[in-house]
Subunit: 326 residues, 3 copies
């Protein structure tokens, strides 16, 4: 069965997962690609149409996409390439909560949303002077962790901040293990599904540095993870609390994938230091094979791309696309 | 096809994996849940019945469960919550080797069983005075590694033992990589299957501690692993040797899942420092998707929950439930 | 459907994956096993025939295998056990590029091939005197990393080389994260497929050494990995460049699985420090379940064994076995 609706995304990040699943579910598929990667994406037969473009000209594609009855799935690279303003105003129906892009553009509003959800977060410091090291210093946007640095004492912090951009966030450095928790908010099922988890693979912190370099945090990949079952009730509560806080704050329902990025310490305390209001690259670890948690809700394992396609498919069948798009 | 038999377990640890698979195989399913997690487990349609209870009152449920023709799958959290005595005397047929609970309750009998099986183990020291550091100091029970500590020299060992409970185990600290090897002992197939492997994800040792804290070993999750194929013959022998030793010692057959917890050193030498006589949480990494090794025995990948359900199903069909329960 | 062709390999490394998939695809299967592992491999019903042999007598089996219409799948352990000369001259049709065995036998020709493909590699130093530490020192052959060492300064390098074999390679020690990229070169589809990735699990560098030993690099297992989608175009180019370089250099097409072994640094720069001209053990992480990238080319996830079986099956059906064998 094929659907009149076309599912599109930008050719990067999780595009392969999204479009493969969309095609399998019976949709037409479109990838919007920069010239540099065009030839790569042309290899894959599950991509029906490839539109080459420059990220700063993507808004010009909106009329065409709308005419082709497109649902656009935004992801982190789309937001990063276009910039949050252009991304948010891209006039094609989004599968997702459009208003979150603006929230995520500023570290302040982002952390504020987590706090409003009642989710524990690391302490934040307004300046190097008030910071209690160790701290981690971050830069705005979704740049995949590049350039982040850790300062173990105030002197180092001051020195490194001198060479850093102005718009930095100084956070308490949480000691524990990182876990990226994938959720799917389903307006049609009226629930938040705990869908999977991953650990990032970061250069050079996850390599064999052996003291030859300072730790750095460039995300180059992702690895699968399951969490202790005794953590899942709490993590589910946090996912639901997040979705509720989004709806309260934005007046828009939480739609589709999101991710809470947590440190779990030796007392099993979970603190969320960041979130993504849409699909994260870590869901790629389950591409085509499916995530362990997906079978809690469905009769077969599913990846996040398949989950998205399923929600859109059901929405189309119920003539309720407006419930899952913004 | 549905079966008259009901599969039950306590709602934690690997309950989702076990009950999902049981339902899929055609069984009725029951989860025994503490009030704190009740609402979480109520979300899942594959759990037919949820019985709220306090762990210390679980024994009162036995008559009801027996009447409902229940096979109970014990796991580590069940033993931990109820305590080994109450767990062992829970009067519902167990899928598993009941007698192992008592063996595992004492570190001495536990390590003794491994040695009787001829499986290499780390050296153990009777006191801080005779210990040869580095050593790892452990506490009784299945607390998920919390509180374990490592001492690199005698002075540290003595200092930390001063503040520790009396019932500690001082083991040689093995240098190498950990591997948790999952087995399934099938009375019906009369074989021990090497089923999978995982690596624990422990806070804070697996995180980005960067010298800001002492290493600690609280298990917060698990990650998939495959081992070199050249290790599998030896690991299979160890699994079989373990099952044989159990039968010799207890006069009960080894039934169902168990786990050997090993350190593999740079010479590929495998030493087992602990075991679990039942399903381990690490099998969750393959939930719904199946483990790589499961296809060695079956035509499709299977998780440990599915393997359990399959064995019980075959036992029911052959009218031989007594072969797989104690 | 069954095929007249038999698929054989040596019983180690990835034999279980290869033979399981071959059987599933309808082929007869043969394992050539050393006496030590014979009883292990006899457990598996997907192995039709097991031929016990000593590695140094494997050449005597050639006539029998040829008579039984065998396609032999060579892997690293086969080459290691027999030695490169005996391996290359084994007179049974290989699924793979026979000429690569000789190239891989010498570190010089191996790195040369990568450079001819235009793939970035670490610097190599001809002697301890010209080396710029930190360096990693390697030994010839496919010994799984055992004995490799790292020297952080010239003094250490000189000291450790004094006790090392003559035939060593001194490479720039790259700071970053390792990634083993699996490819499949399909003569029938006329393409190179990016098939998967893994991270090795090495004792004791990936364990909890805590300063109690020098780092060492004995491979004991493998773990799954996905890479950032933005890296995939480049990695695909490298895979194709490698296959092209093989064809130019050897006049033989690249056939079947190969692996580029890379370090990815914090600038996302990829450098390949080694390759394998055939299936790597890391593909076992996807055994029976399938790799995330395999669904980019096929409608269902597939492991590398299944991919091999599929290519041979198609070749048989098209009466074109000579296209995929050497």
């Amino acid at each position: 069965m094929t659907y009149e609706v076309c599912i599109a995304t930008m050719a990067s990040h999780t595009a392969l997962q999204i479009l493969k699943a969309a095609k399998k579910a019976g949709f037409r598929t479109t990838a919007i690609a920069t010239p540099r990667v065009e030839s790569f994406y042309r290899r894959f037969s599950f991509i029906d149409k490839l539109i080459p473009t420059q990220p700063d000209e993507i808004d010009k594609l909106a009329p065409q996409l709308v005419e082709e009855n497109t649902v656009f799935v935004p992801h982190g690279s789309f937001v990063e390439y276009c910039g949050p303003r252009k991304a948010e105003s891209f006039e094609v129906p989004f599968f997702g909560t459009r208003g979150l892009i603006a929230v995520e553009a500023f570290q302040e509003s982002k952390m504020q949303l987590l706090r409003e959800a009642g989710i524990p977060t690391p302490e934040e410091y307004e300046s190097a002077e008030t910071a209690k090291p160790p701290v981690i210093v971050k830069f705005g946007g979704a740049k995949g962790g590049r350039g982040y640095f850790i300062a173990s004492d105030r002197k180092t912090l001051l020195e490194r901040l001198a060479n850093a951009p102005k718009n930095v966030i100084i956070q308490q450095y949480l000691v524990g293990v990182p876990a990226y928790i994938h959720y799917f908010a389903s307006p049609l099922e009226n629930r938040v599904e705990l869908f999977g988890a991953d650990i990032r693979y970061e250069s050079n912190i996850d390599g064999r540095v052996l003291g030859f370099a300072e730790p750095s945090f460039t995300v180059v990949g992702n690895r699968p993870l399951v969490l202790r079952e005794s953590l899942l009730p709490l993590l589910t509560e946090y996912g639901e609390a997040f979705a509720n806080a989004v709806e309260r704050k934005l007046g828009q329902r939480m739609i589709g994938p999101f991710c809470l990025e947590a440190i779990i310490d030796e007392e099993m305390k979970v603190r969320v230091f960041e979130f993504s209001g849409r699909i994260v690259a870590g869901t790629n670890v389950y591409m085509g094979v499916g995530s362990p948690y997906s079978v809690l809700y469905f009769d077969r394992p599913m990846d996040m791309g398949e989950r998205i396609a399923l929600e859109i498919k059901k929405a189309v069948e119920r003539n309720a696309l407006e419930m899952v798009t913004t």
